[in-house]
């Protein structure tokens, strides 16, 4: 705490405390372990004070005050547990329940819902008010996001995530008073709006009003099908996020236990998307060098974040040539699994079911793209978010913290530290630089950490000195920051050569498919865990991964070869706007 900061003395429930001036009642109460109930409040968002659930009594004030928005003052006397406070909170919850589809047992957010938790806390077992909920169908027209308006409590967290974090504003309030709803412009399905399916709305929704499309049953069906060889790949950021849901510290590294859980679930092989990440670096790194040496389109921009690719296609279609043509690690892995691995294992591609565990809702859309496959099959058949994996693990009754550790299967399970850090903002850039530097200079890179691209800043930049020329790079996360960079690229004034962009805050560790309760503080702990994984691995550069080297020797030839292009590269398309004006 800053010592020069002015302090304020107050009492909460007769307990004297001292907090810095400007603290809100809610945070002041938290310092002494009092959790004032709240719904619209979210620690990473600006204060809304819509729901009034955090109402508290302050001596001398006629009305209750909202603890989320009221700053403490000297001598303030706050009571969070008086009869009037409790009655108010119960009444607010009762009113919400009267306008809520109460099918908790069949709700995707059962036992993980703030409204349900609060009703349980206040012992509200049934609503005393007649239901006024309007029957509205679930909207499940795209492969990533499902909306259920009858579960919306109009807290506005999704609107803030979409507008303030991503700068997209696909969601809005519409109507007024009792008619108010959260919806899209002209009630269009999400995919027909500016939405890029990143799922940040689903991550902050306190109820089941916005959730990921649930594909767990498809995986269970595949696992039961004896004619199918079901393999799974897991993204780097899942292993540092999964533990949250099982009571472990945020950022706990549960790689080995996660592999065991997947084996116990019945997958025939458990592989690592980090292998795909190493492959992406080989292709993307060489693509960058090729562009640099042949007057190609610069700046080159990474293309592994599917939300970001969707954004580019919808919002900056004229700049699509700047995107790297390299597929994402997930899709590269899928392509190799259904060709090289199929050959090795003596299987037909159609017999293999590839499942991906991803921190991301947009990956579901990416896997469904027609260009991500060949000969009538998709590279990746089913994508589950981290949240869906948690469901499956709970379904079979496993406790992640107690499971023995296991290693990934080979040959698509060995990965470098460079692959691991893909999950953090700046990670792809750092991984690429490790390979690009050595390829260009022919020297061994002793210090593999590029500190300039690490950290949680919205936009980071650095200059890398290569023989012959300096390479200027930038790293951005969230699309609000991406837009700033894109405006420059569009005008042709961008000073950069190579740009990494991740759609979600913090990169994949903060993806829209990560466990409910993900906050920026937790994102930072997960990033630290990924760098820890990288630090302790024997191989830290993608091109030094022996399985990658074998793959090129036996199957692909060399980076950017014809076969590599056929399997590991793709193109992107302009997405038309609903209306085109001159």
């Amino acid at each position: 705490m800053n010592e020069s900061q002015e302090m304020v003395k107050l009492t909460i429930n007769n307990i004297p405390i001292e907090v810095p001036k400007g603290t809100k009642i809610m945070q002041a109460a938290q310092t002494i372990g009092i959790d004032i109930p709240h719904l619209c409040y979210h620690e990473d968002q600006r204060i809304k004070a819509h729901c009034r659930l955090c109402s508290v009594e302050v001596t001398g004030k006629k009305r209750l005050l909202a603890a989320c928005s009221t700053e403490v003052w000297e001598g303030m006397d706050v009571h969070t547990d008086t009869q009037i406070v409790r009655d108010t909170q119960v009444s607010i919850l009762q009113l919400m329940l009267a306008n809520h589809h109460k099918d908790c047992l069949s709700c995707p957010r059962n036992q993980n819902c703030d409204l349900q938790r609060l009703c349980s806390r206040f012992n509200i077992l049934e609503s005393h008010l007649p239901s006024v909920v309007k029957e509205e169908p679930r909207i499940e027209t795209n492969p990533s996001i499902v909306r259920d308006p009858s579960k919306c409590i109009r807290c506005g967290r999704c609107i803030r995530a979409c507008k303030d974090v991503q700068g997209i504003a696909a969601l809005t309030y519409a109507g007024r008073s009792s008619d108010i709803v959260v919806t899209t412009a002209f009630n269009k399905p999400m995919e027909a709006t500016d939405c890029i399916l990143c799922g940040q709305c689903s991550l902050v929704c306190p109820t089941g009003a916005i959730v990921e499309k649930d594909d767990t049953q498809k995986v269970l069906d595949a696992l039961q099908d004896n004619t199918k060889h079901v393999i799974v790949q897991v993204a780097p950021s899942v292993r540092v996020a999964l533990g949250d849901a099982f009571g472990l510290e945020p950022g706990a590294i549960v790689t080995g236990q996660m592999v065991t859980a997947l084996k116990l679930l019945g997958f025939d092989k458990v592989f690592d998307t980090n292998f795909g990440a190493d492959l992406t670096i080989m292709e993307e790194g060489h693509e960058f060098l090729h562009r640099l040496n042949n007057d190609g389109v610069l700046p080159m921009m990474t293309s592994c974040s599917p939300g970001w690719v969707n954004y580019m296609e919808k919002h900056f279609p004229s700049c699509i040539d700047h995107l790297s043509s390299a597929k994402s690690p997930m899709s590269m892995f899928g392509a190799i699994a259904k060709t090289y691995y199929a050959q090795q294992a003596g299987l037909k591609p159609q017999e293999i079911v590839t499942v991906s565990i991803m921190p991301c809702t947009a990956k579901k859309f990416e896997a469904a793209r027609p260009e991500m496959g060949r000969d009538g099959y998709q590279d990746v058949d089913i994508v589950l978010t981290t949240r869906e994996l948690i469901k499956l693990i709970k379904y079979v009754g496993l406790s992640i913290g107690k499971l023995p550790e296991n290693d990934f299967d080979s040959p698509l399970g060995l990965a470098s530290g460079a692959g691991a850090i893909f999950g953090a903002t700046g990670g792809v850039m750092e991984a690429a630089l490790r390979t690009v530097y050595e390829k260009v200079t022919g020297k061994t890179l002793e210090k593999v950490e590029f500190m300039d691209v690490r950290g949680f800043d919205g936009i980071k930049e650095a200059t890398i000195h290569l023989p012959g020329r300096d390479v200027r790079i930038a790293v951005a996360h969230t699309l609000k920051n991406a837009r700033k960079i894109m405006e420059q690229v569009k005008k042709g004034t961008s000073p950069y050569d190579f740009i990494e962009i991740m759609a979600c805050p913090g990169g994949c560790i903060g993806g829209g498919g990560q466990p409910i309760g993900t906050t920026n503080a937790i994102r930072k702990q997960r990033i630290a865990a990924l760098y820890e994984i990288d630090r302790t691995l024997p191989i830290r550069k993608s091109h030094e991964n022996p399985d990658i080297q074998t793959l090129y020797q036996d199957f692909l030839g060399e980076p950017l070869s014809e076969r590599a292009h056929e399997l590991l590269h793709t193109h992107y398309h302009k997405v038309d706007k609903p209306y085109q004006f001159d």
């Binding site: 507008k163 696909a170 809005t172 519409a174 007024r176 412009a185 995919e191 859309f365 997405v575 038309d576």
Partner: protein
């Protein structure tokens, strides 16, 4: 999947020019969106802002179309769906309704003569009945507002009939 159906040139050149004039008179200032929408809505005989027009305004003002839709759905004077040529707005605020005999007669007469209820539209698209909040004509109650104009002292069936007949 993400591709929306692009509609080629959804606004006529004439309408676009009219909208551009409105925007210019508001200095293309997105903070004046409500005033802009009121004027643009009046360019349409059915007194609403169609979807393509809303997208056009968002495009020209550089704001998300959700902002435009939020305003359209928030203010009862604005509409995102077609209304009648003459949307008859009846005030639902207490000050207009304290004289119950007059206000009930107003509403009943309108419903009987037009053969529609609140929220409905006549078969020929000429009239619709809408409830609205106070428009500041309490002293002239009972009254209705039609396309921004207040018709006051409607305290007899004859006056109400005469009003409807006058609206061609």
């Amino acid at each position: 999947m993400l591709t929306a159906q692009t509609k080629e040139y959804p606004l006529s050149a004439e309408l676009q020019a009219k909208i551009d004039l409105v925007l210019e008179s508001h200095d293309n200032d997105p903070t004046q969106i409500v005033g802009i929408l009121l004027e643009v809505q009046d360019l349409n005989e059915r007194h609403y802002v169609p979807e393509p027009t809303a997208y056009y305004l968002a495009d020209r003002l550089g704001i998300p179309v959700t902002n435009v839709f939020d305003c359209l759905s928030f203010y009862s004077e604005l509409s995102a769906t077609p209304r009648a040529k003459y949307p008859i707005q009846v005030c639902s605020s207490p000050a207009c309704r304290v004289n119950r005999i007059d206000t009930e007669r107003l509403l009943n007469t309108l419903q009987n003569l037009l053969d529609i209820k609140i929220g409905e539209i006549t078969y020929d698209g000429r009239f619709t009945l809408e409830r609205t909040t106070c428009y500041g004509a309490c002293d002239r109650a009972p009254s209705v507002r039609i396309n921004g104009h207040v018709y006051d002292h409607l305290d007899s069936i004859e006056k109400i009939e005469a009003l409807l007949r006058s609206l061609k």
